[in-house]
Amino acid sequence: MTIDDSLRELYQEVILDHSRHPRHFGPLEHATHNGEGYNPLCGDRVKVHLAVDGEGRIADIKFEGRGCAISQASASLMTDMLAGRTLAEAEKLMDGFLHLVKGEDAGSLSEDDHERLNVMAGVSAFPMRVKCATLAWHTMKSALEGGTAAKTE
């Protein structure tokens, strides 16, 4: 793959669209879990909020913050993917994603999930940018584990 191909894959239209028009963006009233993530390398911050219902399902999910196109798109995609899932499903999805962006085997993902998350796979060719892609996901994991702060360095 040429450099320009890698670049086109990294900044493909789906990613730019998510970053320009983030889904599920904003605060969330009645959140049951909140998390705040910080990347000390670039100063980017992200907040995640979610409302888990009585059956352990993510009934609502939001994120706030600002950052690079990769981190914003990844956060937006994450909220899209996690909405409506059970916590067990969410955990499996997050683990699969964290493998995928590092170029590792993401075998735990269903075929459909793999296909939808694959837009972020181009990040694996840019090791210096993997942390941008994982910030929101690490923040979500730590929010679900009851912590509040995550960082990617």
């Binding site: 450099i3 320009d4 100063g43 690079c68 196109a69 990769i70 210096m128 940018r129």
Partner: protein, 413 residues
């Protein structure tokens, strides 16, 4: 796309052949290295001096009676003389070797100011300091109740000596100020600041990590009390820096690290300390790096420093002119007479995305907060992209940068 070329202002031929790394390619493109403010590349003269010393004269310093120890000690002390001459210190005894600029400033914090500061006493510093000239003072705030008094910069990034003067009060114990901002390129009016502070009996520490690279420094003329430098930005090796301090200050300072080399006598019941500078150089120092630093300062001094400065200023002006076409790009820091550092923000594009696209064009820039978060806050940005110019850069490097930025705009804008 190309900038309107003004005639070159300096007859300076960038010595690119002295820097082997500049011949390499990155992502298949010729390297365009515009990150010298983070760390400068090393000329062959430095690498060869270090290799020759390590393969022919190396031993530990100050402790053997054997031949090589004598030779190494001589080389190490010659480096101290070289740094003293470079900064125009009164004597080599005013130069303490450290592992870098950060350690030099921490040394002043621990060994000088912490002994002289009480709760409510003040340290005056500017919002454009690097974290290395902020965090050591925060330590004194946390531990001893010192108060940090921040001096703002003007919208163009310039620093007014009178604003510093106005912040110095009866409880001020130190003014800590950069000589040249690593983000804005601003050269501060250091001599006027020192004069104002001394009129009120307050000493001044200058962070010279950038300033010493681009300005000809004369610590006696500046009359500054402390001046910190680092080797790796001066085209020298990592792992070595130096603190210049007036002899009287050094004599009155307690040691920071304890260990070998810094003592006069150690018994079971007491210890007495060596005179400065050895008092502050516990343990085996960076000996090979000191030899490299000598070579680096010899190298830099082999050029007409004013011609180097004019060359870097030409690159900055050339870049500024070309960037005028980009109405979506905003330069931060436009102080008169500023050094060759260009920080900017791009509308709708994050600095890290810009830097990734430039990287794929072979262009190395810095993106982020540049270890100067209070300054980022001052200008209301989370991060900037920074291109910094050194003696080996060319107008062609600037052209590649401009092309890369246009490409970034096309992809991300």
């Amino acid at each position: 796309m190309m900038a309107q070329a003004k005639p070159r202002t300096a007859a300076f031929d960038p010595p690119r052949k002295d820097f082997p790394i500049l011949e390499r390619r990155v992502h298949g493109r010729p390297l365009v290295y515009l990150d010298s403010a983070a760390s400068a590349q090393k000329p062959l003269a430095v690498l060869e001096a270090m290799e020759a010393f390590a393969t022919g004269e190396y031993a530990n310093v100050h402790r053997g009676v054997h031949f090589l120890s004598g030779a190494a000690t001589q080389a190490y002390e010659a480096a101290r003389e070289r740094v003293a001459a470079f900064l125009n210190a009164r004597s080599a005894e005013e130069i303490v070797f450290t592992k870098g600029g950060t350690e030099a400033i921490n040394l002043v914090s621990y060994s000088y100011l912490s002994q002289r500061i009480a709760a409510g006493d003040e340290i005056v510093l500017t919002v454009m300091e690097h974290h290395s000239n902020i965090v050591p003072w925060h330590f004194l705030r946390e531990r001893q109740g010192a108060v940090l008094k921040w001096v703002d910069v003007a919208a163009d990034g310039s620093l007014d000596a009178e604003a510093v003067d106005a912040s110095i009060g009866p409880r001020t114990k130190l003014v800590a100020v950069t000589h040249m901002s690593n983000v804005l390129g601003t050269i501060t009016p250091l001599k006027a600041i020192v004069a104002a502070a001394h009129a009120k009996g307050v000493p001044v520490l200058a962070d010279g990590c950038q300033g010493a690279v681009h300005e000809v420094v004369d610590v006696q003329d500046l009359d500054v009390d402390f001046y910190a430098v680092t080797g790796h930005k001066l085209y020298g090796p990592t792992g070595i820096g130096a603190l210049y301090a007036k002899r009287a200050h050094l004599m009155a300072m307690r040691p920071f690290n304890g260990g070998g080399e810094m003592i006069q006598e150690v018994t079971r019941d007491l210890v007495t300390y060596a005179d400065p500078p050895a008092r502050f150089e516990a343990g085996t120092p960076p000996i090979i790096e000191a030899v490299g630093l000598t070579a680096a300062l010899d190298y830099l001094s082999s050029f007409d420093r004013e011609a180097v400065k004019a060359h870097e200023a030409d690159l900055l002006a050339y870049a500024r002119e070309a960037l005028r076409e980009f109405n979506w790009l905003h330069v931060i820091g436009d102080a008169p007479g500023k050094g060759a550092i260009l920080s900017f923000e791009c509308e709708g594009m994050h600095a890290h995305d810009v830097a990734t696209i430039l990287d794929l064009e072979g262009v190395a820039v810095r993106a982020g907060h540049h270890c100067a978060q209070p300054l980022m806050e001052r200008f209301g940005v989370a991060s900037t992209t920074r291109a910094s110019f050194a003696l080996y850069n060319t107008r062609e490097d600037v052209d590649t940068l401009i092309r890369g930025l246009a490409k970034a705009r096309k992809i991300l804008g």
